[in-house]
Protein backbone atom coordinates (compact mmCIF):
# COMPACT_ATOMS: atom_id res chain seq x y z
CA UNK A 1 0.00 0.00 0.00
CA UNK A 2 2.12 2.83 -1.17
CA UNK A 3 -0.67 5.30 -1.87
CA UNK A 4 -2.31 6.42 1.29
CA UNK A 5 -5.81 7.54 0.38
CA UNK A 6 -6.32 9.96 3.21
CA UNK A 7 -3.03 11.77 2.55
CA UNK A 8 -4.25 13.92 -0.29
CA UNK A 9 -4.93 17.57 -0.89
CA UNK A 10 -6.56 19.53 -3.69
CA UNK A 11 -4.17 20.09 -6.58
CA UNK A 12 -4.98 23.78 -6.73
CA UNK A 13 -3.17 24.32 -3.41
CA UNK A 14 0.17 23.07 -4.67
CA UNK A 15 -0.44 24.82 -7.98
CA UNK A 16 -1.14 28.08 -6.19
CA UNK A 17 1.86 27.67 -3.92
CA UNK A 18 3.98 27.46 -7.07
CA UNK A 19 2.43 30.30 -9.06
CA UNK A 20 0.52 32.44 -6.53
CA UNK A 21 3.31 34.92 -5.79
CA UNK A 22 4.02 35.64 -9.47
CA UNK A 23 0.32 35.99 -10.24
CA UNK A 24 -0.20 38.33 -7.33
CA UNK A 25 2.72 40.47 -8.49
CA UNK A 26 1.18 40.74 -11.93
CA UNK A 27 -2.26 41.47 -10.45
CA UNK A 28 -0.73 44.23 -8.31
CA UNK A 29 0.84 45.71 -11.37
CA UNK A 30 -2.40 45.58 -13.30
CA UNK A 31 -4.63 46.90 -10.53
CA UNK A 32 -2.09 49.19 -8.89
CA UNK A 33 -3.77 48.72 -5.52
CA UNK A 34 -2.90 45.80 -3.23
CA UNK A 35 -6.48 45.23 -2.01
CA UNK A 36 -7.90 45.28 -5.53
CA UNK A 37 -5.07 43.01 -6.67
CA UNK A 38 -6.23 40.20 -4.41
CA UNK A 39 -9.82 40.55 -5.66
CA UNK A 40 -8.55 40.50 -9.20
CA UNK A 41 -6.42 37.42 -8.65
CA UNK A 42 -9.22 35.61 -6.84
CA UNK A 43 -11.75 36.31 -9.57
CA UNK A 44 -9.39 35.32 -12.37
CA UNK A 45 -8.13 32.18 -10.66
CA UNK A 46 -11.59 30.93 -9.67
CA UNK A 47 -12.93 31.46 -13.19
CA UNK A 48 -10.08 29.59 -14.81
CA UNK A 49 -9.91 26.80 -12.24
CA UNK A 50 -13.66 26.14 -12.52
CA UNK A 51 -13.23 25.65 -16.23
CA UNK A 52 -10.00 23.70 -16.37
CA UNK A 53 -9.21 22.65 -12.78
CA UNK A 54 -10.56 19.13 -13.27
CA UNK A 55 -7.68 18.43 -15.64
CA UNK A 56 -5.32 18.75 -12.67
CA UNK A 57 -2.98 21.20 -14.39
CA UNK A 58 -3.73 24.67 -15.63
CA UNK A 59 -1.39 26.80 -17.71
CA UNK A 60 -0.46 29.91 -15.68
CA UNK A 61 -0.70 31.88 -18.93
CA UNK A 62 -4.49 31.48 -18.81
CA UNK A 63 -4.67 33.06 -15.38
CA UNK A 64 -2.34 35.90 -16.40
CA UNK A 65 -4.60 36.59 -19.36
CA UNK A 66 -7.73 36.46 -17.20
CA UNK A 67 -6.15 38.90 -14.72
CA UNK A 68 -5.34 41.35 -17.48
CA UNK A 69 -8.77 41.18 -19.08
CA UNK A 70 -10.54 41.53 -15.78
CA UNK A 71 -8.34 44.50 -14.89
CA UNK A 72 -9.35 46.18 -18.15
CA UNK A 73 -13.06 45.41 -17.48
CA UNK A 74 -12.85 46.72 -13.96
CA UNK A 75 -10.98 49.83 -15.05
CA UNK A 76 -13.82 50.56 -17.47
CA UNK A 77 -16.37 50.65 -14.71
CA UNK A 78 -16.84 54.26 -13.64
CA UNK A 79 -16.76 53.60 -9.93
CA UNK A 80 -13.59 51.66 -10.07
CA UNK A 81 -11.96 54.21 -12.32
CA UNK A 82 -12.83 56.91 -9.80
CA UNK A 83 -11.36 54.83 -7.02
CA UNK A 84 -8.29 54.26 -9.13
CA UNK A 85 -7.86 57.97 -9.82
CA UNK A 86 -8.31 58.76 -6.16
CA UNK A 87 -5.81 56.19 -5.12
CA UNK A 88 -3.13 56.70 -7.70
CA UNK A 89 -1.22 58.87 -5.28
CA UNK A 90 -1.33 56.12 -2.70
CA UNK A 91 0.11 53.50 -5.01
CA UNK A 92 2.61 51.38 -3.23
CA UNK A 93 5.91 51.11 -5.08
CA UNK A 94 6.90 47.87 -6.74
CA UNK A 95 9.48 47.20 -4.06
CA UNK A 96 6.66 46.46 -1.60
CA UNK A 97 5.64 43.52 -3.75
CA UNK A 98 8.91 41.70 -3.11
CA UNK A 99 10.33 39.82 -0.19
CA UNK A 100 12.52 42.04 1.89
CA UNK A 101 15.58 40.45 3.34
CA UNK A 102 18.20 41.85 5.61
CA UNK A 103 20.91 41.05 3.15
CA UNK A 104 19.17 42.93 0.36
CA UNK A 105 22.00 45.11 -0.84
CA UNK A 106 21.96 48.58 -2.32
CA UNK A 107 22.32 47.18 -5.82
CA UNK A 108 19.04 45.25 -5.53
CA UNK A 109 17.21 48.24 -4.15
CA UNK A 110 18.56 50.31 -7.03
CA UNK A 111 17.40 47.63 -9.42
CA UNK A 112 13.85 47.82 -8.08
CA UNK A 113 13.85 51.60 -8.26
CA UNK A 114 15.00 51.36 -11.86
CA UNK A 115 12.22 48.87 -12.68
CA UNK A 116 9.80 51.33 -11.12
CA UNK A 117 10.87 53.97 -13.63
CA UNK A 118 9.99 51.80 -16.64
CA UNK A 119 6.80 52.51 -18.55
CA UNK A 120 3.78 50.37 -17.63
CA UNK A 121 4.04 48.45 -20.88
CA UNK A 122 7.70 47.64 -20.33
CA UNK A 123 7.10 46.81 -16.69
CA UNK A 124 4.42 44.24 -17.50
CA UNK A 125 6.62 42.54 -20.08
CA UNK A 126 9.54 42.40 -17.64
CA UNK A 127 7.25 41.07 -14.91
CA UNK A 128 5.84 38.32 -17.10
CA UNK A 129 9.23 37.36 -18.51
CA UNK A 130 11.38 37.49 -15.38
CA UNK A 131 9.04 36.54 -12.53
CA UNK A 132 6.18 34.98 -14.50
CA UNK A 133 8.68 32.84 -16.46
CA UNK A 134 6.53 33.02 -19.58
CA UNK A 135 7.88 32.72 -23.09
CA UNK A 136 7.60 35.67 -25.51
CA UNK A 137 4.85 33.77 -27.28
CA UNK A 138 2.86 33.38 -24.05
CA UNK A 139 3.46 37.02 -23.14
CA UNK A 140 2.26 38.12 -26.56
CA UNK A 141 -0.96 36.12 -26.12
CA UNK A 142 -1.45 37.43 -22.59
CA UNK A 143 -1.06 41.05 -23.64
CA UNK A 144 -2.73 40.70 -27.05
CA UNK A 145 0.37 42.00 -28.78
CA UNK A 146 2.71 40.57 -31.40
CA UNK A 147 5.79 38.62 -30.36
CA UNK A 148 8.04 41.21 -31.97
CA UNK A 149 6.43 44.00 -29.98
CA UNK A 150 6.83 42.26 -26.62
CA UNK A 151 10.37 41.14 -27.43
CA UNK A 152 11.45 44.65 -28.39
CA UNK A 153 9.76 46.12 -25.30
CA UNK A 154 11.70 43.67 -23.20
CA UNK A 155 14.98 44.49 -24.91
CA UNK A 156 14.45 48.26 -24.46
CA UNK A 157 13.50 47.71 -20.84
CA UNK A 158 16.74 45.84 -20.16
CA UNK A 159 18.76 48.53 -21.91
CA UNK A 160 17.14 51.17 -19.75
CA UNK A 161 17.72 49.16 -16.60
CA UNK A 162 21.37 48.76 -17.53
CA UNK A 163 21.71 52.53 -17.67
CA UNK A 164 19.46 53.40 -14.77
CA UNK A 165 20.75 51.03 -12.10
CA UNK A 166 24.15 52.82 -11.83
CA UNK A 167 22.26 56.14 -11.90
CA UNK A 168 20.05 55.02 -9.05
CA UNK A 169 23.05 53.89 -7.06
CA UNK A 170 24.91 57.13 -7.67
CA UNK A 171 21.80 59.16 -6.90
CA UNK A 172 21.46 57.46 -3.55
CA UNK A 173 25.07 58.07 -2.74
CA UNK A 174 24.69 61.75 -3.59
CA UNK A 175 21.54 61.96 -1.47
CA UNK A 176 23.20 60.38 1.50
CA UNK A 177 26.31 62.56 1.19
CA UNK A 178 24.11 65.67 0.86
CA UNK A 179 22.21 64.65 4.00
CA UNK A 180 25.40 64.13 5.94
Amino acid sequence: MTNDPMNTEPIWKSWFARHGAKLLLFARQQSRRPDEAEDLLQEAFVRIWRLYGHTGEVSPGLVYRAIRRLAIDWARSIDRRKVREDKVALDSPLSFSFERTLEQDERKRALLRAVERLSDQQKEVVTLKIWGELTFDEIARTLDESINTVASRYRYALEKLKDWVPEEMDGRKEDSSAQS
Binding site: M1, D4, I11, W12, A21, L24, E38, G53, R107, L161
Partner: protein
Protein backbone atom coordinates in the same frame (compact mmCIF):
# COMPACT_ATOMS: atom_id res chain seq x y z
CA UNK B 1 27.42 35.85 -19.42
CA UNK B 2 26.75 39.19 -21.08
CA UNK B 3 25.44 42.25 -19.31
CA UNK B 4 21.78 41.53 -20.06
CA UNK B 5 22.01 38.00 -18.80
CA UNK B 6 23.63 39.26 -15.61
CA UNK B 7 20.83 41.79 -15.20
CA UNK B 8 18.20 39.09 -15.76
CA UNK B 9 19.86 36.86 -13.17
CA UNK B 10 19.88 39.73 -10.66
CA UNK B 11 16.20 40.44 -11.27
CA UNK B 12 15.32 36.76 -10.84
CA UNK B 13 16.99 36.79 -7.44
CA UNK B 14 14.28 39.15 -6.24
CA UNK B 15 11.35 37.05 -5.04
CA UNK B 16 7.77 38.34 -5.25
CA UNK B 17 5.80 38.25 -2.00
CA UNK B 18 3.66 35.12 -1.63
CA UNK B 19 -0.07 35.55 -0.92
CA UNK B 20 -0.95 35.19 2.75
CA UNK B 21 -2.77 32.30 4.44
CA UNK B 22 -5.85 34.48 4.79
CA UNK B 23 -6.00 34.99 1.07
CA UNK B 24 -5.54 31.27 0.38
CA UNK B 25 -8.44 30.37 2.65
CA UNK B 26 -10.52 33.05 0.95
CA UNK B 27 -9.69 31.41 -2.34
CA UNK B 28 -10.65 28.00 -0.99
CA UNK B 29 -14.09 29.30 -0.05
CA UNK B 30 -14.55 30.96 -3.41
CA UNK B 31 -13.60 27.78 -5.27
CA UNK B 32 -16.05 25.59 -3.35
CA UNK B 33 -16.49 22.13 -4.90
CA UNK B 34 -14.44 23.09 -7.93
CA UNK B 35 -11.39 23.10 -5.68
CA UNK B 36 -11.80 19.45 -4.74
CA UNK B 37 -12.20 18.11 -8.25
CA UNK B 38 -8.54 17.27 -8.75
CA UNK B 39 -6.60 15.84 -5.84
CA UNK B 40 -2.97 14.88 -5.42
CA UNK B 41 -1.22 12.49 -3.07
CA UNK B 42 1.13 13.96 -0.50
CA UNK B 43 4.30 12.35 0.83
CA UNK B 44 4.10 10.77 4.25
CA UNK B 45 4.26 13.37 6.99
CA UNK B 46 3.01 14.10 10.47
CA UNK B 47 -0.33 15.07 9.07
CA UNK B 48 -0.52 11.89 7.04
CA UNK B 49 0.36 9.77 10.04
CA UNK B 50 -2.32 11.46 12.10
CA UNK B 51 -4.89 10.71 9.43
CA UNK B 52 -3.84 7.07 9.20
CA UNK B 53 -4.08 6.76 12.96
CA UNK B 54 -7.55 8.26 12.82
CA UNK B 55 -8.54 5.70 10.19
CA UNK B 56 -7.24 2.92 12.42
CA UNK B 57 -9.22 4.31 15.32
CA UNK B 58 -12.26 4.15 13.07
CA UNK B 59 -11.52 0.54 12.18
CA UNK B 60 -11.12 -0.32 15.86
CA UNK B 61 -14.79 0.51 16.31
CA UNK B 62 -15.53 -2.79 14.63
CA UNK B 63 -16.07 -5.54 17.22
CA UNK B 64 -13.27 -8.03 16.96
CA UNK B 65 -13.95 -11.75 17.06
CA UNK B 66 -11.82 -12.25 20.19
CA UNK B 67 -14.14 -9.92 22.13
CA UNK B 68 -17.08 -12.08 21.15
CA UNK B 69 -15.53 -15.29 22.51
CA UNK B 70 -16.89 -14.97 26.10
CA UNK B 71 -20.39 -14.37 24.75
CA UNK B 72 -20.17 -17.34 22.43
CA UNK B 73 -19.02 -19.45 25.39
CA UNK B 74 -22.01 -18.36 27.45
CA UNK B 75 -24.34 -19.13 24.57
CA UNK B 76 -22.77 -22.61 24.31
CA UNK B 77 -23.38 -23.24 28.01
CA UNK B 78 -26.99 -22.17 27.60
CA UNK B 79 -27.47 -24.54 24.69
CA UNK B 80 -25.91 -27.37 26.68
CA UNK B 81 -28.34 -26.71 29.55
CA UNK B 82 -31.30 -26.77 27.17
CA UNK B 83 -30.05 -30.02 25.67
CA UNK B 84 -29.69 -31.60 29.16
CA UNK B 85 -33.24 -30.62 30.04
CA UNK B 86 -34.58 -32.04 26.79
CA UNK B 87 -32.64 -35.25 27.33
CA UNK B 88 -33.97 -35.59 30.84
CA UNK B 89 -37.58 -34.98 29.79
CA UNK B 90 -37.35 -37.32 26.82
CA UNK B 91 -35.91 -40.13 28.92
CA UNK B 92 -38.78 -39.81 31.36
CA UNK B 93 -41.26 -39.97 28.46
CA UNK B 94 -39.78 -43.01 26.79
CA UNK B 95 -42.25 -45.90 27.29
CA UNK B 96 -41.25 -48.99 29.19
CA UNK B 97 -43.78 -51.36 27.63
CA UNK B 98 -45.60 -52.01 24.36
CA UNK B 99 -48.90 -50.67 25.82
CA UNK B 100 -47.58 -47.13 25.64
CA UNK B 101 -46.59 -47.34 21.97
CA UNK B 102 -49.21 -44.76 20.90
CA UNK B 103 -47.62 -42.16 23.09
CA UNK B 104 -44.12 -42.73 21.72
CA UNK B 105 -45.20 -41.97 18.18
CA UNK B 106 -46.34 -38.49 19.09
CA UNK B 107 -43.52 -36.44 20.66
CA UNK B 108 -40.73 -35.45 18.32
CA UNK B 109 -38.59 -34.59 21.30
CA UNK B 110 -38.21 -38.25 22.03
CA UNK B 111 -36.26 -38.73 18.78
CA UNK B 112 -34.17 -35.54 18.89
CA UNK B 113 -31.70 -36.50 21.63
CA UNK B 114 -30.24 -39.15 19.36
CA UNK B 115 -28.71 -36.60 16.96
CA UNK B 116 -28.53 -33.46 19.10
CA UNK B 117 -25.69 -34.56 21.40
CA UNK B 118 -23.49 -35.34 18.40
CA UNK B 119 -24.08 -31.87 16.92
CA UNK B 120 -23.42 -29.94 20.10
CA UNK B 121 -20.49 -31.96 21.23
CA UNK B 122 -18.61 -30.79 18.14
CA UNK B 123 -19.48 -27.14 18.72
CA UNK B 124 -16.45 -24.93 19.25
CA UNK B 125 -17.53 -21.67 20.84
CA UNK B 126 -14.63 -19.87 19.15
CA UNK B 127 -15.53 -21.09 15.69
CA UNK B 128 -17.72 -18.93 13.47
CA UNK B 129 -19.16 -22.05 11.77
CA UNK B 130 -21.43 -24.55 13.49
CA UNK B 131 -20.14 -28.06 13.58
CA UNK B 132 -16.56 -27.06 12.81
CA UNK B 133 -13.91 -26.40 15.37
CA UNK B 134 -11.33 -23.74 14.76
CA UNK B 135 -8.72 -26.38 13.96
CA UNK B 136 -11.04 -28.07 11.46
CA UNK B 137 -11.87 -24.73 9.93
CA UNK B 138 -8.18 -23.95 9.58
CA UNK B 139 -7.62 -27.35 7.88
CA UNK B 140 -10.54 -26.91 5.51
CA UNK B 141 -9.74 -23.32 4.49
CA UNK B 142 -5.95 -23.73 4.55
CA UNK B 143 -5.93 -20.31 6.19
CA UNK B 144 -4.86 -19.28 9.68
CA UNK B 145 -7.83 -18.35 11.86
CA UNK B 146 -6.31 -16.07 14.48
CA UNK B 147 -3.48 -13.55 14.43
CA UNK B 148 -4.84 -11.27 11.67
CA UNK B 149 -4.02 -7.59 11.87
CA UNK B 150 -6.62 -4.86 11.49
CA UNK B 151 -7.32 -4.39 7.77
CA UNK B 152 -5.65 -1.54 5.91
CA UNK B 153 -8.07 0.42 3.79
CA UNK B 154 -6.82 2.32 0.77
CA UNK B 155 -8.63 4.52 -1.73
CA UNK B 156 -6.75 4.67 -5.03
CA UNK B 157 -7.62 7.41 -7.48
CA UNK B 158 -7.64 6.07 -11.06
CA UNK B 159 -8.77 8.82 -13.40
CA UNK B 160 -11.12 11.71 -13.93
CA UNK B 161 -13.39 12.13 -16.93
CA UNK B 162 -14.97 15.38 -17.97
CA UNK B 163 -18.41 14.43 -19.29
CA UNK B 164 -19.25 17.87 -20.58
CA UNK B 165 -21.81 20.51 -19.72
CA UNK B 166 -25.33 19.51 -18.70
CA UNK B 167 -28.47 21.60 -18.61
CA UNK B 168 -30.40 21.20 -15.40
CA UNK B 169 -34.01 22.39 -15.31
CA UNK B 170 -34.43 25.39 -13.07
CA UNK B 171 -30.77 25.45 -12.13
CA UNK B 172 -27.51 26.70 -13.54
CA UNK B 173 -25.90 24.51 -16.17
CA UNK B 174 -23.08 22.45 -14.74
CA UNK B 175 -20.03 20.56 -15.87
CA UNK B 176 -20.24 16.89 -14.91
CA UNK B 177 -16.98 15.36 -13.80
CA UNK B 178 -16.72 11.67 -12.97
CA UNK B 179 -13.95 10.33 -10.73
CA UNK B 180 -12.96 6.68 -10.75
CA UNK B 181 -11.52 5.13 -7.61
CA UNK B 182 -10.48 1.67 -6.55
CA UNK B 183 -11.09 0.89 -2.88
CA UNK B 184 -8.65 -1.67 -1.60
CA UNK B 185 -8.76 -3.58 1.68
CA UNK B 186 -5.73 -5.54 2.75
CA UNK B 187 -5.79 -8.16 5.50
CA UNK B 188 -2.43 -9.44 6.66
CA UNK B 189 -1.32 -12.30 8.86
CA UNK B 190 2.33 -11.75 9.78
CA UNK B 191 2.90 -15.20 11.34
CA UNK B 192 2.16 -17.05 8.10
CA UNK B 193 3.10 -14.14 5.80
CA UNK B 194 -0.38 -14.31 4.29
CA UNK B 195 -2.11 -11.32 2.73
CA UNK B 196 -5.57 -10.99 1.22
CA UNK B 197 -6.37 -8.03 -0.98
CA UNK B 198 -9.94 -7.13 -1.86
CA UNK B 199 -10.61 -4.44 -4.49
CA UNK B 200 -13.88 -2.67 -5.18
CA UNK B 201 -14.34 -0.12 -7.98
CA UNK B 202 -16.18 3.10 -7.10
CA UNK B 203 -17.29 6.23 -8.97
CA UNK B 204 -18.05 9.74 -7.79
CA UNK B 205 -19.85 12.32 -9.86
CA UNK B 206 -19.42 16.02 -9.19
CA UNK B 207 -21.41 18.84 -10.76
CA UNK B 208 -19.55 22.14 -11.05
CA UNK B 209 -21.94 24.98 -11.56
CA UNK B 210 -20.93 27.29 -14.37
CA UNK B 211 -21.03 31.01 -14.00
CA UNK B 212 -23.08 33.05 -16.42
CA UNK B 213 -21.24 36.14 -17.55
Amino acid sequence: MNEFEKLEAELKELRPLAPGEKFTSRLEKALGDAGNVAMCCLPEGEDGKARVEASFRESSKLVSFSRLVPWVGLAGLGLAAVWAMIFYLSSSLVPDGPEDRVVTDLPMVAQQPVSAPILFSNEDPDSPLHGLSLEQLQDVSVMPVSGWLDPQINERFLRVVDEGIFDRPGRLPARRVRHYFMDETLWSHPASDTRILSTTPREEVIFIELETY
